[in-house]
Structure formats: structure tokens, C-alpha cells
């Protein structure tokens, strides 16, 4: 009797400790072999504002591994999804400015989300130091087989209102689609879904006519001929979809892309920022990392933090102007 009690207590304790170690961020590797001066001192947390498995999460994990190889110590990725990444951002902004909390963040949170949410919910880039650019993730406008669209010009022939699925409110996918239809003067209705997979499902099942998705989400079904790509939204064509024209090429002044960059809390010492940037650049050189980018259809955007900042400011202004010009309200798909 006594004995059996201990057995199951031990079993429970075992499970509990598994959970503790597994959830990460607990293990301390203080003073762990670092070869670039003092950084890092102990474990460095990397909150990511998305759930496990999405591209933001995978990129963070890839960078985390690279940093850990270059600098020693551990860089556990912690998923803090919610509010388009604002939760994770708030955590980083509040964290101590010593490099113990760093985060790869999305441009959309700073440049696009402000167009959809109330002013007091806007996350400002001024709370962070931008250390290093990472990569670009392009959007593609795709049509379902049933819709019969093969190019943007076909929209003119549509009898009814065209429906388009988006990956959520305040995302680049929504902005890209909304701008396309407005600039092209097409009558269209946005149907927001919770992320790319449900939007793709609806498109495959002909529930919506078109959708804006990230290239990585759509590419396999494009290649299998199940959906038809109409346009990409980057400054130039996407390496992975060489036959798909950009919106600019088709005469539409629409350029939207998602890009990610490394941020640290405002006021983090310059030498820490430099150490991170150097370690990231070394990671970018690795074959494994480059293969990862290819596999996930990511275009490298390995520019300096200052360049990222300039790009963000410019995009933010451009999006705001376009949205105002065409009277688009991203938060109004009621």
C-alpha cells in the first residue's frame, strides 16, 4: 500500500519535471562557454508572437540554433502568441535591456496592424532597437479553380462580387488583397479566416473565389495545379514562382511584403547588439540556414538594423497613404 503510493507519486513527479524542463527557459547555463566577451550571461529568452509551427516560429528557432552555436549558451524560443504578436512585443519592450530577452519580430505588426486597431493598441518600433534584418516572406494572390480567373484582368468579367479570403485582420495578406481590389476598382468582399491554412482550405473547396496567402502556404497546391496564382506583391518576382508577375508589372501600384528582423529592448548596450548581429550574419552564411530559407520560400533580407528601420518607416507611411487614398478600413469586415 505504502509502496504503491510512492510509485505513483514518483510517476507524477517524473511527468512534472519533464514538463518543467520541456517548457524551456528554466535551464540555466550561466557562464556557459561564450566566445564573444561576456554575452550571453545565462539563458537568453526569445519570445515569438506566433504559435509553434508557423513561419515566424520556425525562423525564430532557426536563428536561436544559430546564435547558440555561435555564442554558446542557450536561446530558448518561447511561444507567446496573441494579438498579432503584440503580446510578445510587449514582453520584449518591458524586459531588461541587457540582451537577456531578444525577439525576431514581424514588420506587419509595426506597419500594417496600426491600420486595423485602435490607437492605444499600436505597438511602436521606438520601444526597440532593431539589430539585424532576417528575411522576406512574400504574399501571393491565388484564385480557386472554380472561379475561372487566370489573371487580374479576368476580374473585369466577373458578374458578381468577388470574395477573397484573408489570413486575418491587420495582416499583410489582407492589405495586399484589399489594395489590389481597390486599386483595380473591383467590387470585392473580404472574408477573414484564422490564419493561412483555413483560408487555403476554403479556396481549395471553392468556398471563396480568391485569397491572399504567404507563398509558402500556397506553393505546393499551386504546383499541383489545384489553385491558380495571379500576382505576387514584392518589389520583384519571387524566386520560387518565377512565372507569376508582380502587381506592379500588371499596372497596379501595390507592393506589400512581410519581413522579419531581430529586435532587443530599447537601450540595450551596443556591444551586445553587435555580438548578436555578428552571430546572425555568421549563421546566414551556413548552408543549412540557406537551405532552410529555400525550403520555406523565404527571400534573404540580411540588411542592417538601420536599413530595416528606414524600410519600416517608409512602408508604414506608404501603406497609410494608400489606405487613406482608397478609403480602405482594414478593421471593418463586419
Amino acid at each position: 500500500m505504502r509502496n504503491s503510493t510512492t510509485t505513483c507519486l514518483a510517476a507524477l513527479a517524473g511527468v512534472a519535471s519533464l514538463a518543467l524542463t520541456a517548457c524551456g527557459g528554466v535551464s540555466n547555463t550561466a557562464g556557459g562557454g561564450s566566445d564573444s566577451g561576456e554575452y550571453p550571461q545565462g539563458a537568453v529568452e526569445m519570445p515569438v508572437g506566433a504559435s509553434a509551427g508557423g513561419s515566424s516560429d520556425l525562423i525564430s528557432r532557426q536563428i536561436s540554433e544559430g546564435l547558440s552555436d555561435e555564442l554558446g549558451g542557450s536561446f530558448p524560443v518561447i511561444n507567446r502568441e496573441g494579438a498579432n504578436g503584440a503580446l510578445a512585443a510587449a514582453e520584449v519592450a518591458k524586459a531588461e535591456a541587457d540582451g537577456s530577452t531578444i525577439s525576431v519580430q514581424n514588420a506587419s505588426l509595426f506597419a500594417i496592424t496600426p491600420l486595423a486597431v485602435a490607437e492605444d493598441e499600436v505597438t511602436s518600433i521606438d520601444d526597440f532597437e532593431v539589430v539585424q534584418g532576417v528575411s522576406r516572406d512574400d504574399y501571393v494572390l491565388v484564385a480557386s479553380k472554380g472561379s475561372g480567373f487566370t489573371s487580374i484582368d479576368d476580374f473585369a468579367k466577373a458578374k458578381d462580387k468577388i470574395t477573397y479570403g484573408t489570413t486575418g485582420v491587420g495582416t499583410g495578406a489582407q492589405l495586399a488583397c484589399a489594395l489590389t481590389y481597390n486599386v483595380n476598382d473591383t467590387d470585392a468582399e473580404a472574408i477573414p479566416f484564422d490564419g493561412g491554412a483555413p483560408a487555403l482550405t476554403a479556396l481549395l473547396g471553392d468556398q471563396v473565389d480568391t485569397a491572399c496567402l504567404q507563398v509558402g502556404e500556397a506553393i505546393e497546391n499551386i504546383e499541383a495545379g489545384k489553385i491558380v496564382p495571379l500576382s505576387v506583391f514584392g518589389p520583384e518576382r519571387v524566386e520560387f514562382l518565377p512565372d507569376v508577375p508582380t502587381a506592379q508589372e500588371q499596372g497596379l501600384d501595390v507592393e506589400v511584403s512581410q519581413y522579419r528582423f531581430m529586435t532587443v529592448p530599447k537601450g540595450t548596450p551596443q556591444d551586445v547588439q553587435d555580438a548578436i548581429a555578428e552571430a546572425m550574419q555568421a549563421t546566414f552564411e551556413k548552408e543549412e540556414y540557406q537551405a532552410f530559407n529555400k525550403q520555406n520560400n523565404l527571400t534573404p533580407l540580411e540588411i542592417s538594423g538601420d536599413e530595416v528601420l528606414a524600410m519600416l518607416e517608409e512602408d508604414k507611411q506608404r501603406y497609410a497613404d494608400l489606405v487613406e487614398e482608397y478609403g480602405i478600413d482594414l478593421g471593418d469586415a463586419s
Binding site: L9, A11, L12, L58, E65, A83, A202, Q207, E223, A291
Partner: protein
């Protein structure tokens, strides 16, 4: 179907390394399944680096898949023994599972659940092997209107769960629907009931609600109940279900497996709907529905078979059209990307070895799980012998840890404790937490699907009736609603025209009161 590729798949699985990976996967899965909160998706995320380093990508995928379906077995254990459902799809197991455990029949419940899980999963793998692509295309016919109708049906079925008053169940369900609206609205990004809290913007997680209402609520209630009483350990008479139990459970296992297979293919609410529908079906076909909620073995067998079948058939959209049906499937998607394979319609032709290797590993993995479960049932039921003074803090610890691991948020822990107090008050006043939790899960599905449908229909609600599938679901829903009324009406007429004696009249009066 390509039989050669299928058989080659078995050759892949039976390689010793792959067998070992499969065993490790299901073992880890089962363990993390026991701990609610740290779900299979999070575990797979942590173990994803193995996919980079494994010599053979197939081994890594086999292991990660094993974690997922292994967790389905483990999840039952806490539902039955401690009344904490780790996943939405095991909420319905709690009602009869925990009731059975209290009667000292935890072994029966766990045994039947293990057998049901094995059977459900196996039926589903056979379905996946033979019908995968066909079923996948039927899942695509489910658009927003169909989901809205299905979720509405689900909310209706919620009222039949448990054995409390229908009115109280509906009240609890309404509260659940209300809670589902908390957070940033996904259509307009307007904040609803967030009270300016950034933490609430992302909405409330299911695990927070479920563990609070069930787990913590039960602990608090027991503290009061047992205060001053001497603890009498529940007699554990039988470790293994008797022949009679199995006979009683087997039709339920069969029905649950089929329901689970078909509903599980639907991304989103598939698994929850499956377990709920299986429970409702059992209650409907039972000779004596009043046993449900008080320890009916079918109430465990049906939903457990269904949720395992659903877990397995959720592989179908991923492997045949490249759509992850849930968070764990999204992780598997990521893992496949890591090993250089993009899941999609071309997977079966481009990587038959991987496709069939993974599917066939599930036949073997489930067999391992069944064999593992048998001795483990014997060990786990002994948990019930632990004094509440020791068990309660451990349960509390598990729930707190579990909740923390979802979003690494301390706020969620306090929120869960809040729900625990609510759960305690509900139990004191005779409200069941089940309908609240299930309505909470279905609420956001129902709301967003309904709004999406209205956007698609351009505001014209007749579309719900004119589309074949949603129309059929709504007709079925009407039938379920009206059937009891019709039956009553018919019975009354029959008794009135034949022999209306006093006894019968009493009966009617009683029934009228109940209504």
C-alpha cells in the same frame, strides 16, 4: 491504390531504427498526454530539432506522429482519474469516466478506453489507407455555412451531455458561448470584454477554462466535502474490464470509431464534434439514458473511440492536400518542411516511402500503445488510493503547470483559479461544467463561421438552407429537437385512446413537471 507502395511502407516501418523511433514517440506522447497543458504540439516543437539531426527523415516523422497519437491515449488517464480533461475532445469522457472511477471502476473505464482508442484508431487508419484522398475532397465541401450548422448542432448536443437539468445545462452553455467572445474580434479587431488587458486580447484558452472548472473546482469541492471525514480509499475491485463490460461497450466502440473517422477529417472543430456526437449517439440508443453521467461504460467507450479515430483521420487533410487540421498537424507540417518535404497533393507520388511509412507506423504504434496501456492501467488506478490530502496538491500542481506551459503566462494561472472558484460554485448549485466548456469551444467556431457565411451570402441567410450539406445538417438538427416532442405527443394520444387509467395520468403529470 498502389499496393506495392503500401507494402513497401511496412518494410520501412519494420526497420529496427524506425521501430525504436516509433516506440519512443508513443511513449513520450503517452507521458505528455497524462499532463494536461503541455500538449503534443508544444512537445513536437521542442523535439523538432531531432528532425534536423535524424539520419533518416522518415524516422523523425514517425516519432513525431507517435507523440501525437500517443498523447490521445494518455489524455484519458487524467480525465478519468482526476477529472481534468487535457483536450477539448476528452471533456465528454470526464462525465462517465470520473463517475466510474468514484465507484472503484477506474480500471474498467481505463481499460475500455484503451481498447476503444486502439479500435477507433485502427478503423481510422484503415479508412485513411483506403479512402484518404476521397474523404479529403469531401472535407473541402465543408465551407463556413456547414461549420456554422455543425457547431449549432454541437451546442444543441451539449445540453444532452451529463445528467443535470436541461435548463441548467443550457444556462451553463450560454455562459460558455459568452466567454468564447472574449478577446480581440477576428473580423474587426475590436476588443470585446478584454477590460484593456493585453493578456485577454488573444482570448481565453480552452485548457484554462477546462482545468479551472473541472480540476480546481473538484479539488475545492472535495476539500469541503471531505473535511472532517475519514478518507475511505475507493475499492479497486477489478483492474481489467469484465467480459460483460466489454460486451456492453463494443457497439459503442464501433459507432464511435465511424463517427470519429468522418468528423475528424474536418479541420477545426472535428475532434470535439466527434466525441460529442458519439456521446449523444450512445445516450440516444441506450435503453436507459439516465445511467449516463452516473458511470455508463458506453459514455467512455464511444467518445474515446471517436476522439482517437478523429485524431488519426486528421492526418488525411495534411497528407493529401497539405492542410494542417490542428496545431499538432501544423507542427508535423513544419517537421516535414525541415526534412525537405512539402506536404501537399503531390506527397503520395513524390514520396511514397514517407507517405506509407508514416501511415503504416500508426498501425504498429497503436498496437504498442495498447500493449503499454494494459500494465499502466494497473499502476495508474492506484493513484486513487492516494489520500486526498496528498493527491489534491499534486492535482493542483499539475493543473498550474499545465496552464502555465500553454502560453508561459502567469496571468493564465490566476484566470484558471478564478474558473476553479466558478467551478466550485457551479457544483454547489448543481450546474455541470461540461456544457459550459463544450459550448465555449464550439462558440467561436459557430460565431466566426456564421459571420463568414453571412459575408459570403452577402447578407442573405437563405443560403444556409439551400446549400445541400448545411441544409441537411439543419434538417437533422430540427429532427433532433422535435423528435422527443413528437414522441411525447404520439404516446399521449395512444394512451388516451386506449386505456386511460389513473396510473398513467400520474405519469403524465410527472413528465409535465419535469418539462
Amino acid at each position: 491504390m498502389d499496393w506495392n507502395a503500401f507494402l513497401d511502407g511496412f518494410a520501412v516501418v519494420t526497420e529496427p531504427t524506425n521501430l525504436l523511433y516509433c516506440l519512443i514517440g508513443v511513449l513520450i506522447g503517452m507521458l505528455i498526454g497524462v499532463l494536461p497543458g503541455l500538449g503534443p504540439a508544444a512537445t513536437m516543437a521542442i523535439l523538432l530539432p531531432i528532425a534536423y539531426n535524424a539520419g533518416d527523415p522518415v524516422s523523425a516523422i514517425i516519432m513525431l506522429a507517435g507523440i501525437y497519437y500517443g498523447a490521445q491515449y494518455g489524455g484519458t488517464i487524467t480525465s478519468v482519474l482526476l477529472r481534468i480533461p487535457g483536450e477539448a475532445s476528452s471533456v465528454v469522457t470526464v462525465f462517465d469516466g470520473f463517475a466510474l472511477a468514484k465507484q472503484g471502476k477506474a480500471g474498467t473505464a481505463l481499460g475500455v478506453a484503451a481498447i476503444g482508442s486502439f479500435f477507433g484508431a485502427t478503423v481510422s487508419i484503415i479508412g485513411l489507407t483506403l479512402l484518404g484522398p476521397i474523404v479529403a475532397s469531401y472535407a473541402l465541401d465543408f465551407g463556413p455555412p456547414e461549420y456554422a450548422a455543425l457547431a449549432l448542432l454541437g451546442v444543441l448536443l451539449v445540453a444532452t451531455v451529463g445528467n443535470g437539468h436541461t435548463v441548467k445545462a443550457l444556462v451553463a452553455a450560454a455562459v460558455g458561448l459568452l466567454l468564447a467572445t472574449v478577446g480581440s474580434d477576428t473580423f474587426t479587431s475590436a476588443n470585446r470584454f478584454t477590460f484593456d488587458s493585453l493578456e485577454l486580447q488573444g482570448g481565453i484558452d480552452f485548457v484554462v477554462v477546462a482545468m479551472g472548472l473541472f480540476g480546481v473546482g473538484e479539488i475545492l469541492y472535495n476539500l469541503e466535502e471531505r473535511h472532517g471525514k475519514i478518507h475511505v480509499p475507493a475499492a479497486i475491485a477489478n483492474i481489467w474490464p469484465s467480459r460483460k463490460d466489454l460486451k456492453q461497450a463494443s457497439p459503442a466502440i464501433g459507432r464511435g470509431s465511424v463517427i470519429g473517422f468522418f468528423l475528424g477529417v474536418l479541420p477545426g472543430g472535428g475532434a470535439v464534434m466527434a466525441s460529442l456526437a458519439a456521446y449523444a449517439a450512445e445516450k440516444r440508443v441506450a435503453k436507459d439514458p439516465s445511467r449516463f453521467g452516473r458511470g455508463a461504460i458506453e459514455g467512455v467507450a464511444g467518445p474515446e473511440s471517436a476522439n482517437n479515430a478523429a485524431a488519426t483521420s486528421s492526418f488525411i487533410p495534411l497528407l493529401t492536400i497539405g492542410i494542417p487540421a490542428n496545431a499538432s498537424m501544423a507542427m508535423l507540417f513544419a517537421a516535414l518542411l525541415v526534412v525537405g518535404v512539402t506536404p501537399g497533393p503531390q506527397l503520395i507520388d513524390e514520396n511514397p516511402e514517407l507517405f506509407w511509412g508514416v501511415i503504416n507506423s500508426m498501425y504498429i504504434g497503436n498496437l504498442i500503445l495498447l500493449v503499454l496501456s494494459i500494465p499502466l492501467v494497473g499502476i495508474f488506478v492506484k493513484i486513487l488510493r492516494v489520500r486526498p490530502a496528498i493527491l489534491a496538491p499534486i492535482t493542483a500542481l499539475i493543473t498550474i503547470l499545465g496552464v502555465y506551459t500553454i502560453r508561459n503566462s502567469v496571468f493564465d494561472i490566476f484566470l484558471m483559479i478564478g474558473f476553479g472558484i466558478l467551478g466550485y460554485l457551479m457544483k454547489k448549485t448543481g450546474f455541470e461544467p461540461g456544457p459550459l466548456v463544450l459550448a465555449f469551444v464550439l462558440g467561436s467556431l459557430m460565431e466566426s463561421s456564421f459571420r463568414r457565411s453571412m459575408l459570403l451570402f452577402d447578407g442573405d441567410a437563405t443560403g444556409f438552407v439551400t446549400r445541400p450539406i448545411s441544409g441537411t445538417i439543419l434538417a437533422f438538427l430540427l429532427l433532433v429537437l422535435l423528435l422527443p416532442l413528437l414522441k411525447r405527443l404520439l404516446r399521449r394520444r395512444v394512451t388516451e385512446t386506449t386505456t386511460p387509467d389513473h396510473h398513467d395520468h400520474d405519469d403524465h403529470d410527472e413528465r409535465a413537471e419535469l418539462r
